[in-house]
Amino acid sequence: MLKRVAEMSGWGTPLPAGKGRGIAHVLSFGTWTAQVVQVDVTDNTVTIEEVWAAADPGIVLDPSMFKDQIMSGINFGLSQALGQEITWADGQVEQANFDTYDAMRMYQAPKITIELLENSPRMGGAGEPGTPPSTPALANAIFAATGKRIRQMPLSNEIDFI
């Protein structure tokens, strides 16, 4: 799975200055999932350009829908990095709606390529495995591009995104 995502993303090939790739993987809900995120950082602002994902859930019953679910998981995960944060004041949560707790929009959405492997001996889930590796891969990509380690979510507290 890691080998496949490395091949898909051209892992190890040189990138222009200001760009970086990061990788992360997880076993989530029975599905092995690895992702590479590529970012561009211009004027201290991060653009999430592209994401490659390889997932191994064992037998895949519906490849098209499975890929859709992984795609959604990726964008859901990246939304957290882009600024989703719950804060409290006076005993209440301060965020109540999408104007204060937004998610990724079209202009922020990366190109996504997904491949499925069927080596795992047990069938895994499709709904959530896309989410957990997306943000660590993004944080690693930002480190590769800038040398800056961000260790707290949302990443947007320490660096700007488009």
Binding site: Q69, M71, I74, A103, M106
Partner: protein
């Protein structure tokens, strides 16, 4: 007693009795029983309630019904009989929706975009399509809009 408000919705003229301050979305859903436009946020932030007024995409949750000037089109009004709109057909072909809640609003925003710009670039689509999709179906929305643009331009 509320005043009578004349409206044209999906080609049909009608009068409703409603507080002019009532959001158009409430009037559509609760008075006229048109349930395609959805309530998402109520503050014009998400676009699930998008309808067309004279062809322009409007977030009906934040549009007072008494101030509507022009013909209203909801997703119920874009097909020609049994023939779905090219945008709807492209949505089905690309299997865009996942949970589906935002999708009637997304489709209406896409219809408005293609009316104004029949051959949008990736950037045009990103600029025009500001509706929120919590399932993150944006790559498929973009592909479907490009497909529909080809169909409509053919």
């Amino acid at each position: 007693m509320y005043p009578k408000i004349p409206l044209t919705v999906n080609g049909q003229k009608q009068e409703i009795e409603a507080d002019p301050e009532m959001p158009l979305l409430w009037a559509l859903r609760d008075i006229m029983d048109i349930k395609g436009p959805k309530f998402g946020c109520g503050v014009a932030a998400c676009g699930a309630c998008t309808v067309l007024i004279d062809g322009e995409a409007v977030r009906s949750c934040s549009q007072p019904v008494g101030e509507v000037e022009g013909e209203i089109t909801t997703i119920e009004g874009i097909s020609q009989g049994d023939e779905l709109h090219a945008v709807q057909q492209a949505w089905m072909k690309h299997s865009v929706p996942q949970c589906g809640y935002c999708q009637s609003g997304q489709i209406m925003a896409a219809v408005a975009l293609l009316e104004e710009n029949p051959d949008p670039s990736d950037e045009d689509i990103s600029d025009a399509m500001t509706n929120l999709c919590r399932c993150g179906t944006y790559p498929k929305i973009k592909a479907a809009i490009k497909d529909a643009a080809q169909t409509l331009g053919a």
